[in-house]
């Protein structure tokens, strides 16, 4: 397809709404993701208030929760609904669609040298399905009996029986519908990414010359295609149990004075199906963030990424292992203890490629000439939280140790650091780095620094103390711990955590302001502001459908020729031909 094929007249609707241009779709993903992020983070601040000052009346509860907070005191069912929807929104809508959707769309065609995705139409459908699922999820907040409240893992029977909890009625139905649409969106997107990377690479762009971002997005898409359908089937079977009286997940239940008819199903089956997606999902969230980090670290360190081959190998190893470790969420679910042994083994194996990645990042910084742009700070921050959060995985992945910390705040601290905060940092790093590419303007760096430093301090302030609450034995998803005098001495810690969380929340306003303001009034971006090697910076600042006005640039080298001896500049973009006698690194 030539560039001129796209030079037809675009109306407002085809350009901004039903656009098939991957760059516009990526912006749509980002902005939808950010809006969902505001909702998700806002919810977490509400339930943090409840946890720090349990059962206290707050004006903000009355105004935001209405009838769910009589006299300003949060209702326990609403607490559970908030943690459920917070988890769902953050994991799927912000860190899956908002992160991977945004940057896969923006970068795959631009970095491999393609004029657009393999199918622009499917890409558009993928976004609009995501949009629709977001609308359904938000709509579920307003149903009569409240939204889903069974935890983001929606284990039946709690999620299957409206008698067990009000949120398991209409709210859960909408949750399932929303997720089904979301999965369809994710599958269409992923298939498009895979096909595009395999088929549409420009001349010279061999797989071993791909930037690590593309490797990460490519492998993420494959994991998504392998695991998301399993969640879809779990959701469908759950819908059957809920609405058509089947017994896939339910058996021997007595509730509200009544014996239900379900026989022979098993909630453990649901757990297997859920975590068959649920665990790879962690890497669906994390790998794109790591890919972005690889790119941002190398560019700003003005150094090649250390150990490119090992980085690719570790992405592949993590992806493979991620599909055979799901049972570590179920050590004490009642499954056969022998399975627990197997999953302990596979789970701890995943620490090896993760360690390799961390060490390679650190070595990339060594003897670099670090340009500490906000994107770079977020990437370094990511490595830091990835290590801090990842290390406790050694405890949780060990079936023996998991017995006593399973489902406590220790787990909450672990996964928020290793996938929540890390992936969020990846998202921020990506936004700061590619904002010029997306909007043709620069984000304000000073506001970026404020945003990073406050967020970085608060992230540790929130999640480090949480390990202690968990090791004190406090279960997660407790509306309050005042029912146990034994936990009275944790009140202090909860207050500290909430204060840090509120400050962190405020810091995100700085980011939002910077984002919106710079979109319209930011300084005009140069074509290649970070002096980067990858192809997207050879495309003109002004967007048009087709990416490059003339021929697509040809690629002659890998993406990491930074500070290569024998070159004047400290970067050599991928489309620059090899000098006479210049050697390409063997990889």
């Amino acid at each position: 397809m030539g560039a001129d094929a796209h030079h037809h007249k675009e109306t407002f609707i085809t350009k901004y709404i039903f656009s098939q241009d991957h760059k516009m779709i990526s912006k749509q993903y980002l902005i939808t993701g950010l809006i969902m992020g505001i909702v998700g983070i806002g919810m977490s601040l509400l339930f943090r208030l409840q946890l720090a000052w349990p059962e206290q009346p707050f004006g903000i509860f009355e105004s935001t929760l209405g009838k769910w907070a009589p006299d300003g005191v949060m209702d326990p069912n609403v607490y559970l609904a908030l943690v459920t929807i917070h988890g769902t929104i953050m994991v799927f809508f912000v860190l899956t669609a908002g992160l991977s959707g945004t940057f896969s769309n923006l970068l795959i065609p631009l970095q491999i040298g393609a004029r657009d995705m393999a199918s622009g139409f499917l890409n558009m459908i993928s976004y609009w399905l995501f949009f629709l699922s977001s609308v359904v999820m938000l709509a579920s907040l307003f149903v009569e009996a409240g939204p889903a409240a069974a935890g983001w893992t929606i284990y039946p029977p709690l999620s299957a029986l409206p008698q067990a909890q009000p949120g398991s009625g209409m709210g859960m139905t909408l949750w399932l519908v929303s997720m089904a649409i979301f999965i369809a969106s994710s599958l269409l997107g992923s298939l498009n990414y895979i096909v595009t990377v395999i088929n549409l690479r420009t001349k010279g762009m061999s797989m071993t010359r791909l930037p690590l971002t593309i490797w990460a997005f490519f492998v993420t898409a494959i994991i998504g295609v392998v695991s998301f359908p399993v969640l879809l089937s779990a959701a469908l079977l759950l819908i059957m149990d809920r609405s058509f009286g089947t017994s896939f997940f339910l058996s021997d239940i007595f509730i509200q004075g009544e014996v239900l008819h379900y026989q022979g199903g098993s909630p453990v089956l649901f757990e297997h199906l859920f975590w068959f997606l649920g665990h790879p999902e962690v890497y669906i969230v994390l790998l794109p963030a790591l890919g972005i980090t690889s790119e941002v670290l190398a560019t700003n360190a003005r150094k090649p990424i250390f150990g490119y081959r090992a980085m690719v190998a570790s992405i592949l190893a993590i992806a493979f292992l991620s599909t055979i470790v799901w049972g570590h969420h179920m050590f004490i679910s009642g499954m056969n203890p022998f399975l627990g042994s197997v999953f302990t083994f596979t789970t701890l194996l995943i620490a090896i490629p993760s360690a390799v990645k961390a060490f390679n990042y650190i070595t990339t910084l060594w003897k670099g000439n670090l340009q500490l742009n906000p994107a770079m700070l977020f990437s370094i921050g990511l490595v830091s939280t990835f290590i801090t959060g990842g290390l406790t995985g050694i405890i949780l992945g060990d079936s023996t140790l998991d017995i006593n910390v399973h489902d406590t705040y220790f787990v909450v601290a672990h996964f928020h650091l290793v996938m929540g905060i890390s992936a969020l940092y990846g998202l921020f790093a990506g936004v700061y780095h590619w904002f010029p590419k997306m909007f043709g303007r620069m984000l304000n760096k000073q506001l970026g620094y404020i945003h990073f430093w406050i967020t970085a301090v608060c992230a540790y302030g929130v999640f480090f103390p949480m390990h202690f609450i968990g090791m004190a034995g406090l279960p997660r998803r407790y509306y309050t711990n005042t029912a146990f005098p034994y936990f009275d001495d944790l009140a202090d810690i909860n207050v500290v955590i909430t204060i840090f969380a509120l400050i962190a929340g405020a810091a995100q306003i700085v980011f939002l302001y910077n984002f919106i303001h710079s979109m319209f009034y930011g300084k005009k971006a140069e074509q290649n502001p970070w002096k980067s090697n990858t192809l997207e910076w050879t495309a003109p600042v002004e967007h048009f459908h087709g990416n490059w006005a003339g021929d697509i640039p040809e690629v002659h080298r890998w993406a990491y020729d930074y500070s290569k001896p024998g070159h004047e500049e400290d970067y050599v973009p991928q489309h620059i031909p090899m000098k006479k006698g210049e050697e390409e690194l063997q990889h």
């Binding site: 284990y155 670090l370 005098p485 009140a491």
Partner: protein
Amino acid sequence: MTTLLTIAILLLVSIAVWQITKIFQVAQLNQKVDDSQVANDKDNDWNGKLMFAFLVFIYLITIYSFWAWGDVLLPESASEHGKDYDRLMWISMALIFFVQIVTQALLHYFSYKYRGRKGLKALFYADNDRLEFIWTIIPVIVLAALILYGLYAWSNIMNFEEDEDALVVELYAQQFNWKARYAGADNVLGDANVRFLQDFDGLNLVGIDASDPNGLDDVVVQELHLPVGRKVIFKMRSQDVLHSAYMPHFRAQMNCVPGMITEFAFTPTTTTEEMRQNPDMVAKVQKINKIRYDKSQELIANGEESLESYQFDYLLLCNKICGASHYNMQMKIIVEEEKDFNAWMAQQRTFAQVIQ
């Protein structure tokens, strides 16, 4: 506590003020320099230094947390397998702290040391197979050791034998309380199913099958008593949704799943009385009572009832989200000498007596 918060907030405010002044400085520079939103030497310099400060911050928050909150952690295990558990936990923790301290130091020190300056060129250093081999193989060896120890402990805990003299107890979960069923003189639990719950006008609290003779001597109670030093085999059931029987002081947890019976076993080693004498526990309870006393003064001032003073007891908590009152689904556990246990048991009514 308040001091820490004040310091933290002051720190953040001062960073913010510093930043804002810088914004104004840069706003003036804007007119001359074109790439004003790309980090310059000055930005690299102060952010690099802050990176080093951040390393200090990570260390400080770690030390502070242990100093301020070290006493909230669980006391030493009150069960036999818990000793193994605690040892493995400490080995893992020591390892984690070592790696954490070293890697964070390298990461942040490099970020500080190699902060960029105009005109400098980075080292073109893309690969080192030997180095990469080393930091692949070291985690492999360390993890192999941890995995082996972990699997050894796991199989000891989970593959328990059904000894003759072990006490068999059923933990029965429902929204939102716990019940315990003892197997009685025959030490065999009678068959049970939710279908029997409505028999005997609701007196059949856990749905025992009255036609199974093994069930007639079963005893259903709302407070769990365990004899010290005797192995207890728990059989878990749930009547409605998933619950999880979590007994943190014994390093014990297992989900309760409707439609199936799950199992866990441990041997309590410390009676409730002994645990109350444990110096760590004494200090913890004192701290808790101080907090409760202060809160009570507030409550009394508002004309409300004061809080009772707290005495330590082992706990069984629900640790799987189960609905509105999940946060208050608990049962007291009392570990006592065998003779006290027998005396207590003798006072309980068997199923046969209850349904008469």
